[in-house]
Amino acid sequence: MDTRQAAAAAIGLTPAAWLVVRFFTDDLGANPIEEITHETGTWALRLLLVSLAVTPLRRVLGSRLSLRYRRTLGLLAFAYATLHFSTWMVLDHFFDWQAIVEDIFERPYVTAGFTAFLCLLPLALTSTRASVRRLGKRWVRLHKLVYVAAAAAVVHYWWLVKSDVTEPFYYGAALALLLAARLPFGRFR
């Protein structure tokens, strides 16, 4: 990891550090567990979308933008998703397995969120250089799961809100743009 990646990681961890500060200054509001859940979840989604911006940006910037950022951002997204998931499981449900399982299977928004998390898991596990070498072409195919994860994460947010879908819409639009930027426009000419 070079200094620039370390800097990217440090910036990426700032929201988590800020949550810790807010916790100790009693600034998380009336429902701190909900606030932590929302913040970690939102940052997981944001970082996932930013990691998806690396590839299209390289079309413009070329190799000046290192692919390593993609891994750093992807791992940061996974870190927030893990915090989000554990907040829900530990702080919110306090290991109430029956409620957790019921939520996963019966509440569509939880099903979607859990799907997103499950998709990210193998990607984080195979993020090392050794894995990339060992898996070769299969690595590329496996990592297409990130699109499923991102779509599931947006759906998770969309289904979660009660009636005001403005914010999930923005995230969905951003994802749609990022996917469109991958279309091989040249070939259609």
Partner: protein, 325 residues
């Protein structure tokens, strides 16, 4: 048995007397100071704190209200005042929990009147001061259960809705009561977007409306209602999910047919007309088996009818409460 379903005995002391009024405000500030001390640097809020009334209601001084204690009050400890006034669902001022406290300062609550209509002998507009007899005010400490699986305990100040309705002389055709919130996007910025079909509407069956637990509140925690909590006049129906307790009411109609209600219209599968608190009937998004009491860490079991079953269950005898959720 949990202490939470304990009902205070007649002659029980006012919550204010039990806790000591200043304690309403001080708990949170104590935590704040402790937290600030822990982190070495304060947030800067504690020093310039202007007192709870100023903090909770920008631009309006909340007057103290005198109220009699009620045997229908719960003996549970009320939710921290700061929490009760900063964590609100009042979509007329925005959909974030903090929005109502932030964006409700433009609401004009004085003068205020309520228009009565429908099946009543005495229809027409009534000024708030004529509608609520200040000498009859009672403090009712009730549990408040939101459909989002969190809950609070609020010391409301108000009068039974029954008396107010009877004063308008309902006819025999009055089978339901329909309530309406103010519709004014100038004062209520959340209404500038079609989140719900404005104005907000709610309704009760006439026996629910006449039930002694159902009140019209004009205050809480010993003072007038802050804007974000539904000033100057709101409904409180403690055995139903919070969204039934409509805020900032400008119209009350007595009607023959079941009236349309906002959340039911918006998502009929998710929100029924009755909306009685029921741990057995899950919402598509939230299991209703448990709830988080604001200020507590672990979730607690949700009780049928929010713990008011003894008083209200008989009204629904023979009804399929899964169907009529």
């Amino acid at each position: 048995m949990r202490t939470m379903i304990k009902i205070a005995q007649p002659g029980a002391a006012l919550e204010r007397e039990v806790t000591g009024e200043s304690l309403y405000w001080s708990r949170r500030q104590f935590i704040k100071a402790a937290g600030a001390g822990l982190a070495l640097y304060g947030t800067g809020l504690a020093g310039c704190d202007d007192g709870p009334a100023a903090e909770a209601a920008p631009g309006r001084k909340l007057l103290t209200l005198e109220a009699k204690p009620s045997a229908l009050s719960s003996a549970e400890e009320p939710t921290d005042y700061q929490d009760a006034t900063s964590y609100n669902n009042f979509y007329e001022f925005g959909t974030d929990k903090e929005d109502p406290a932030r964006y409700s300062s433009e609401l004009i609550t004085n003068p205020w009147s309520v228009e009565f209509g429908g099946e009543v002998g005495k229809p027409g507009k009534v000024g708030l001061e004529d509608l609520i007899d200040r000498s009859a005010l009672e403090e009712r400490i009730y549990r408040l259960r939101c459909v989002e699986a969190w809950s609070m305990v609020i010391p409301w100040i108000g009068v039974p809705l029954a008396g107010v309705l009877k004063s308008r002389e309902p006819t025999s055709k009055a089978k339901y009561v329909a309530f309406r919130t103010l519709h004014d996007p100038e004062q209520m910025p959340g209404q500038r977007r079609p989140i719900l079909r404005w104005p907000y509407r709610e309704g009760l069956r006439i026996d629910e409306a006449m039930h002694p637990l159902t009140i019209l509140a004009i205050g809480m925690y010993g003072r007038e209602l802050p804007n974000q909590n539904g000033a100057p006049l709101r409904l409180v129906v403690p055995w139903k999910y919070g969204y039934k307790s409509i805020k900032s009411i400008v119209a009350i109609d007595l009607v023959e047919e079941q009236p349309p209600t906002s959340w039911n219209t918006s998502a009929p599968r998710e929100y029924g007309f009755y909306s009685n608190v029921n741990p057995e009937v899950s919402h598509p998004r939230w299991s209703q088996a448990k709830e988080r009491r604001i200020g507590e860490f672990r979730r607690r079991e949700t009780l049928p009818f929010n713990g008011y079953g003894e008083q209200v269950a008989s009204m629904y005898a023979g009804m399929d409460l899964k169907k009529y959720h």
